[in-house]
C-alpha cells in the first residue's frame, strides 16, 4: 500500500499543467436522413495529470468512446480543443504522427486489435517501425516491452500468432505494442470488458504497475465501476455527451451525489443497496438531447418529488446545469445536489 500513499501525493499538486486535456470539446456527427446531427460529445472539460489514472465511466452511447477517440486525434472536434502538455493538438499529418508516439491506445477487443496475419513480434514492433524504421536494437526493445507486459520469457512468444494466445495474453501483446514507444499517456477503451473475470484483475494490475514503475498516465474508458474502484485515481461519469460528476474515486464512487451515479452504483450485483434504482428505458438518443438537465426525464430524484421538495424541479426541466470545468476538484452537474 506504499504505492497508494505516493499516489495521494502525486495527485495533490493540481496546479501543474495536465498532460492531456479536453477543453470545451464538442464532437457532432452529421445525421442521416431526417435525423438531426448527433452530439456525441457535447461540451467536455477533462484533465489527465502526469502519473494519474482517470476512469471515464458511462453507458454505451454516452459518448465516452468518441471522447477517447477525439483525445487521440482520431476524431476531429467540431468545437473546443485537445491539448497535450498545454499545447493544442495540431491535425497535420506530421504533428499527429509525433503526437501519437506519446499517446497510445489500447482497445477493448484484443482479438480484433491484432492483425491475424502478424506475429506477436511484428505486432509489437509495428509502432517502432512506423516511427524509427528498422533499428538495430529493435529485438531488445520488443523483448523488453513484452516482458514488461508480463509475457515471459518474451522469446517464446515472438513467432506466435494471435490465435494461438489466450485473451489475456493478447491484451498483454496490445499493451506491449503501446509500451514499446515509451508513451506518456495510455488511452484504454474498455481494456478488460471482453476478458474473463479471472484475467481481468491481472490486466488491471498490470496497468497499475506500469503507472507506478514508469509514471504513465492513463485514461480508462469503461462501463465498469468496479474497474474505476480497482485502479483509478479520479472518475468522471459521463451521460449523454457531458461529464455529470467528476472527482476522486473515493468521493464519486463511495459517496456519489449525482442521481445518475447513484443509480449506476445501486444496480451493481452485490452492491448491498436495499432498493436498486433501475432506470427504465434505453440510454437516450444523442440526436435529441432534452432541454434543461439532460438527465431529467429519467431522473429518480425528480421523479420521486425530492427535487420538487428542494425547490429545484423547475430548473431541472428548463435550465442546463452547465459544463463542469477541468482540474481535480469534485464537481457535480446537478441542480438538486448543488442546492
Amino acid at each position: 500500500m506504499t504505492a497508494n500513499a505516493e499516489r495521494m501525493d502525486a495527485a495533490a499538486p493540481a496546479a501543474l499543467t495536465p498532460v492531456l486535456s479536453a477543453e470545451g470539446l464538442h464532437v457532432a456527427f452529421k445525421g442521416r436522413g431526417r435525423r438531426g446531427s448527433a452530439r456525441a460529445v457535447d461540451g467536455v472539460d477533462l484533465d489527465v495529470h502526469a502519473g494519474e489514472i482517470v476512469a471515464l465511466v458511462g453507458e454505451s452511447g454516452c459518448g465516452k468512446t468518441t471522447l477517447a477517440r477525439a483525445l487521440l486525434g482520431l476524431e476531429r472536434p467540431t468545437a473546443g480543443r485537445v491539448a497535450f502538455e498545454g499545447e493544442p493538438l495540431r491535425y497535420g499529418m506530421r504533428p499527429l504522427k509525433t503526437y501519437r508516439r506519446r499517446v497510445q491506445l489500447v482497445l477493448q477487443d484484443p482479438s480484433g486489435s491484432l492483425n491475424p496475419r502478424h506475429t506477436v513480434y511484428d505486432a509489437v514492433a509495428e509502432g517502432l517501425r512506423i516511427h524509427e524504421g528498422h533499428t538495430a536494437d529493435e529485438r531488445d526493445r520488443v523483448a523488453a516491452a513484452l516482458s514488461r507486459s508480463g509475457l515471459r520469457p518474451p522469446e517464446r512468444f515472438f513467432l506466435s500468432y494471435p490465435h494461438e494466445l489466450s485473451g489475456g495474453q493478447r491484451q498483454r501483446v496490445v499493451i506491449a505494442g503501446a509500451l514499446v514507444l515509451e508513451p506518456e499517456v495510455i488511452v484504454a477503451d474498455e481494456p478488460v470488458a471482453s476478458l474473463d473475470a479471472s484475467v481481468r484483475g491481472e490486466i488491471l494490475g498490470l496497468l497499475l504497475r506500469l503507472r507506478d514503475e514508469l509514471g504513465l498516465s492513463a485514461l480508462v474508458v469503461t462501463h465498469d465501476l468496479g474497474l474505476a474502484w480497482n485502479i483509478a485515481d479520479r472518475a468522471a461519469v459521463m451521460y449523454l455527451g457531458r461529464v455529470v460528476e467528476v472527482g476522486p474515486v473515493e468521493e464519486v464512487l463511495a459517496s456519489p451525489r449525482h442521481p445518475y451515479t447513484r443509480a449506476l452504483l445501486s444496480v451493481l450485483p452485490e452492491s448491498g443497496a436495499d432498493s436498486p434504482v433501475i432506470l427504465s428505458g434505453e440510454p437516450p438518443d444523442p440526436t435529441r438531447v432534452p432541454a434543461g438537465c439532460r438527465f431529467h426525464a429519467r431522473c429518480q430524484v425528480l421523479g420521486s418529488g425530492q427535487a420538487d421538495a428542494a425547490g429545484v424541479a423547475g430548473r431541472c426541466r428548463s435550465e442546463d446545469p452547465g459544463v463542469l470545468s477541468g482540474g481535480t476538484a469534485t464537481q457535480v452537474a446537478c441542480h438538486w445536489a448543488n442546492a
Binding site: A193, L264, E282
Partner: protein, 350 residues
C-alpha cells in the same frame, strides 16, 4: 426429485487425429422452480454443458453420462421426443442476441415460429400470444413489426427471452444473457428474467463468468474449472465464503465498491486455463493455485461435501473438489489414493 439431473457428463470433441475432452465428468441437479448458476471462465466447458442438455452439440462431439430431464434421459431420447422437449421442456437464451436473431425477419414472426411449429394455433391467436409475450418482456406490442437491427442490444435480448418463453418451457437455460450489456440494461434484464421465472414457476440454469451476477440472481451455484464442477452450494455462501481457491479468485475478481481492501488492488488469477488436450497431473487447478501443496500434483480430488448437510435439508449441502477439504486429509494429512474422477459424492450426502 430434481427437475434436471446431470450425472457424470463427459463431452469429447474430435479434432484432427486426437480427442479433446471439454467436459470431464460434470454433475449437478436443479430442483423444480429453483435457479442454478454455472460459473467459470471461457473454455471451462460451461457452454458445452448447456448445449449438451438439449443435444445441440456438433456431430464431432461425443457425449457420455446421464442427463435426466424430469426423469427422462435426454441422451437416449428418440428424435421426436427430443423435439418436443426442446421447446416445451427447456429452451435456451444464447449470448450475443445480435447473432442469434435472423436479421431479415421481423421479430414478431421469429417469436411466433416455435408456436406455429409446435402447436396448432390460428394466426389470430398466434399474434395475440406474440403481443402478450412482448408485453411480458417489457416491449410494446407494435414492436413485433420491427427488424432486429432496429432494436437496441437490451431490446434484442428481451426478444430472445420472449422467444424462449413462447412455448412455456419448464426449464430456461440462459447462456451469458447479459454479457456485453451495460450495467443498467444488465440490471433490467436480470430483473426481468427473475420476475418471469418466478411468475411462471420455471427452473433456470444461468451461465456466466461473472460470479457476482450469478450470486445475485441464483439460489445455487456450481463453479466449473477445466470441464468439472469444482464447487457447488447455496449461492450466497459459495460467493461469500468460497472453499475452493478457484471460486475464491472468481468471487474477488469483481470488487465491492467502497471496500478499502480492493482499492488500487485488483485481484486476478495468474496463468491460463489448462490445455484441455494436455491437462496437468493431479488437480487441474494446481498450476494456478495460490495454495497448492505437494500432494496436489498426485491427487485428483473429487467433489466432496464440505459441510455436513443438515438432515432433510439438501439445499444447505456444499461440496468442493479440493484436497484441503477432504476429511481424511484434514485429520491425518496422509497422501490419498489418486481419486477416481467421479462426481457422485454430493448425492450420497443428501
Amino acid at each position: 426429485m430434481n427437475y434436471l439431473e446431470v450425472k457424470d457428463l463427459r463431452v469429447t470433441y474430435r479434432a484432427g487425429e486426437g480427442e479433446i475432452p471439454a467436459v470431464r465428468g460434470a454433475g449437478f441437479g436443479l430442483a423444480p422452480g429453483s435457479k442454478l448458476g454455472v460459473a467459470g471462465e471461457s473454455g471451462c466447458g460451461k457452454s458445452t454443458v448447456a448445449l449438451a442438455l438439449l443435444r445441440l452439440l456438433p456431430r464431432s462431439a461425443r457425449v457420455q453420462g446421464e442427463i435426466l430431464l424430469d426423469g427422462e434421459d435426454v441422451l437416449t431420447m428418440r428424435w421426436g421426443r427430443l423435439r418436443a422437449v426442446r421447446w416445451a421442456g427447456a429452451s435456451i437464451v444464447f449470448q450475443g442476441a445480435m447473432h442469434s436473431l435472423n436479421a431479415v425477419r421481423r421479430v414478431g414472426d421469429q417469436i411466433a415460429e416455435p408456436i406455429l411449429l409446435h402447436e396448432n394455433a390460428t394466426p389470430g391467436e398466434v399474434s395475440r400470444r406474440v403481443g402478450r409475450l412482448l408485453e411480458q418482456v417489457g416491449l410494446p406490442r407494435w414492436r413485433a413489426k420491427a427488424y432486429p437491427h432496429e432494436l437496441s442490444g437490451g431490446q434484442r435480448q428481451r426478444v430472445m427471452i420472449a422467444m424462449a418463453l413462447a412455448c412455456e418451457p419448464r426449464l430456461l437455460i440462459a447462456d451469458e444473457p447479459t454479457t456485453a450489456l451495460d450495467v443498467m440494461i444488465q440490471a433490467q434484464i436480470l430483473r426481468l428474467i427473475d420476475r418471469l421465472v418466478g411468475e411462471h414457476g420455471i427452473s433456470m440454469m444461468m451461465i456466466s463468468h461473472d460470479l457476482s451476477v450469478l450470486a445475485e440472481t441464483c439460489d445455487r451455484l456450481a463453479v466449473m474449472y477445466a470441464g468439472r464442477v469444482v464447487e457447488e452450494g447455496p449461492a450466497d455462501s459459495v460467493f461469500a465464503d468460497a472453499r475452493h481457491p478457484y471460486t475464491a479468485a472468481l468471487s474477488s475478481a469483481f470488487p465491492k465498491i467502497g471496500d478499502p481492501e480492493s482499492r488500487r488492488n485488483p485481484h486476478g488469477l495468474p496463468g491460463d486455463p489448462p490445455d484441455p488436450a494436455d491437462p496437468p497431473s493431479g488437480c487441474a487447478f494446481r498450476p494456478r493455485c495460490p495454495v497448492a501443496e505437494e500432494r496436489c500434483s498426485t491427487v485428483d480430488p473429487v467433489l466432496w461435501p464440505v459441510e455436513p448437510a443438515a438432515v432433510g435439508n439438501g439445499a444447505a449441502g456444499r461440496a468442493a473438489a479440493c484436497v484441503r477439504m477432504l476429511p481424511e486429509m484434514r485429520s491425518a494429512g496422509v497422501a490419498a489414493e489418486p481419486a477416481e474422477p467421479n462426481v457422485a459424492a454430493p448425492e450420497e450426502s443428501r
